[in-house]
């Protein structure tokens, strides 16, 4: 009889879909390790941080921003592994994805400059996609807080897409996986106005409540996941991520991300 652990997930998309998409992961780990898991989709980033700090979540699937902050604030977290995705260009397995700034085609914006004074939606201030989107805008000399009339934070990628489709905002920043998902759902109705630089993918970490001696066991279990594992298809269908496996990188993999995130702060 194995131990029971809580698997925390960031609410980066529809909680039900997140729960469905990541239940397979806890199921796989349970099968691989003999431990028992329950999945918790937290209310927001703050809740997940707090729960990792206090140890009410043992393992967590989180984004790069969360990881950078945790790495800085909570010394005893342990990196387990990063999602890998097939690169759209060369088909290789990669630990990166990108953030897209998109608008509806029928709005007729040919450039982000056309949206000056308009409305814009980010996922959240702690969303890596949002941070990288802001960084891309800054590179173009655009300060979103000044350039746009109103900037909304919608907490989830799918809510950004739905708000775009509803016409409530002129443009929004989402992950390219969510973009693919949106095109599948709503058709080719979006224009991609800006593409960010590569963003380290979401990752799995262990909190201080998780036994350190099990980290390597779990890391191996994740790395051994085959790309054709059914769970990845569930993730792709539910969340639009093209995740096909897990990789393990050293600390420097997140250095550039830290720079970008610090610049945003």
């Amino acid at each position: 009889m194995g131990a029971s652990y809580v698997f925390g997930v960031l609410p980066s998309s529809d909680p039900e879909k997140l729960h469905e998409a990541l239940s397979w992961l806890s199921g796989y780990l349970a099968q691989a390790t003999g431990d028992d898991f329950s999945v918790v989709v937290t209310k927001d980033y703050e809740e997940l941080m707090i729960r990792i700090r206090e140890g009410s979540v043992d393992l967590a699937c989180l984004n790069t921003v969360g990881y950078i902050k945790l790495r800085r604030d909570v010394l005893d977290i342990k990196y387990v592994g990063t999602f890998l995705e097939k690169d759209d260009k060369d088909g290789s397995m990669s630990g990166y994805y990108r953030s897209y700034i998109v608008s509806l085609k029928d709005r007729g914006f040919s450039s982000i400059k056309d949206i000056e004074g308009g409305t814009f939606a980010f996922v959240s201030r702690d969303s890596t996609s949002s941070v990288y989107a802001k960084q891309a805008l800054r590179k173009m000399g655009i300060d979103p807080s000044v350039f746009f009339g109103k900037v909304f934070y919608l907490n989830r990628h799918d809510r950004v897409v739905k708000s775009l489709v509803a016409g409530s905002v002129d443009a929004g920043a989402i992950s390219h996986g969510m973009y693919r998902n949106a095109v599948e759902s709503f058709g080719d109705v979006f224009d991609v106005l800006v593409v960010s630089e590569p963003i380290p993918h979401d990752l799995v970490v262990a909190s201080r409540s998780f036994p350190p001696d099990k980290v390597e066991l779990y890391r191996k279990a994740l790395v051994q996941l085959p790309p054709d594992y059914d769970g990845f298809e569930t993730v792709r269908r539910a969340l639009g991520w093209g995740a096909l496996g897990f990789g393990v990188f050293d600390e420097s993999f997140y250095d550039r991300a830290e720079e970008v995130i610090n610049a945003d702060i």
Binding site: S124, R125, K150, F152, Y153, N155, R159, S163, S168
Partner: protein
Amino acid sequence: MLISRARSLKGGILIIVMFSFGILSLTYGIFLNVIIKDYANSRLAERERSAELVRRGLVHNLEHLIQLSINLSRPRDIHEAIEGMNNDALSDWGKAFSKSVSSILFIDTDGTVIARAPDEFRFGDSVRSETFFRGARDDGSFSGVSIVEGQAALVACYPVYKYNDTVVGYVSIFKDITEKFLEGLLPEKDMRLSFLGTIASTSPIKLSPSIENPILISVADGAFSLSFLPSPEYLRLLGLQGDILSAFAVVTAGTIILLLFFLNRHFRPYTEIVDALVDYSENHASLEELRRSISNTHLSSTGEICYISRALVKMIAVIEEKMRSIQSYSEKLEFLATRDSLTELWNRRKMDQILVAETNVVDRTAGDLSLIMVDIDFFKRVNDTFGHESGDKVLLSVAATIVDSLRQSDEVGRWGGEEFLAVLPDTDLPEAFDCAERARKAIEGCLLDNCISVTASFGVTQYRPGEPINEFVSRADKALYLAKERGRNMTCVSPS
């Protein structure tokens, strides 16, 4: 008297019957009207109670919105979410509280909607110009009726404070004024509540308190109309009232028709007699026609009127007889008064009247009028020679000859012993002369008893309009005298 009596009797009977029916109808009408009025008053009181319940329901709903908006303005999460433009967090709050309301809006200080529940993906629009937002921004809060995007709603808008003194945004809560919502406020099924508009946009309507009129309810700048379906009991009462009135109308009309038929049948002979008498009295009918009319009535009637008409017929027959006697006497008297007893020509008195009449005609019409005066020559000698009886025969013969010689329109009379006067209307002097000559020659050629022949002298003149009659006659007399002087048996003319 008979006329007025017959007609007033008929009219009197009609009036009495109509009056009775009128009183009866009025009594029933008043009685029923009192019942209906009592019922209407109780309905009015009931309507007022219902209106008060509806008004309280509206106020209660508005107070609920106000309380909810105050409650939602307090949590720290909400003011932080508004400050952070966190649509998702605000949508969650909105969804959690929007079950009992139509929608909840979280608005920043510029009037931009940050989040809307339950329509969570519609935001970013501006409500800056909406009444509720301006009210909350300018007056500290708003509660009332507002029309947003064409939908009327009860609205409560309350500011969200940071540090209890800095407004960071607004919570606005709506309860749409829909048919269903209004239906839910009704205490009974037999009424209907409708929204008329905001008081500012609605023309003032004054309705008198009546069972038919809706009741106007004003709540928080909103005007509502509470109308009531017709009560079945009230409709039944009105129907009963209508039925009774119709029945009375039918019975009254039937009674009047039957009564008129009866009265007409009974009074027709009287009316016929009265009409015949009136016609006779106004000279529109003769006594014979009166008798014939009453005889017809007598033949076609029975009973009292039969006796009356028979008596009247007999009375008329007596009158007719008397009238005929009077007429006969009258004619005889007139003959004696106007005719010469021997010749039966007009006497002098009548000739005077004829002269007056004919000269008046000529004075009016400026026509012609001539006069012939005749005198038998040597008449004394006839009397002396043949006796008075022969003299009378001569007079008769001369008179007849003159009449035969003149025209039918000419008037001939005995003027004196053996003198005759003829008045010739429409005759000038030459024509009169010709007439006189014709008569003279006829007399000259006449032989009585194979041995008596006479001649006559003629004086002729023409009337001068306006002259006195005696002068007119005198000139004829002078012409006659001239004929006598010149040898008799001739006609002399006095110039006109």
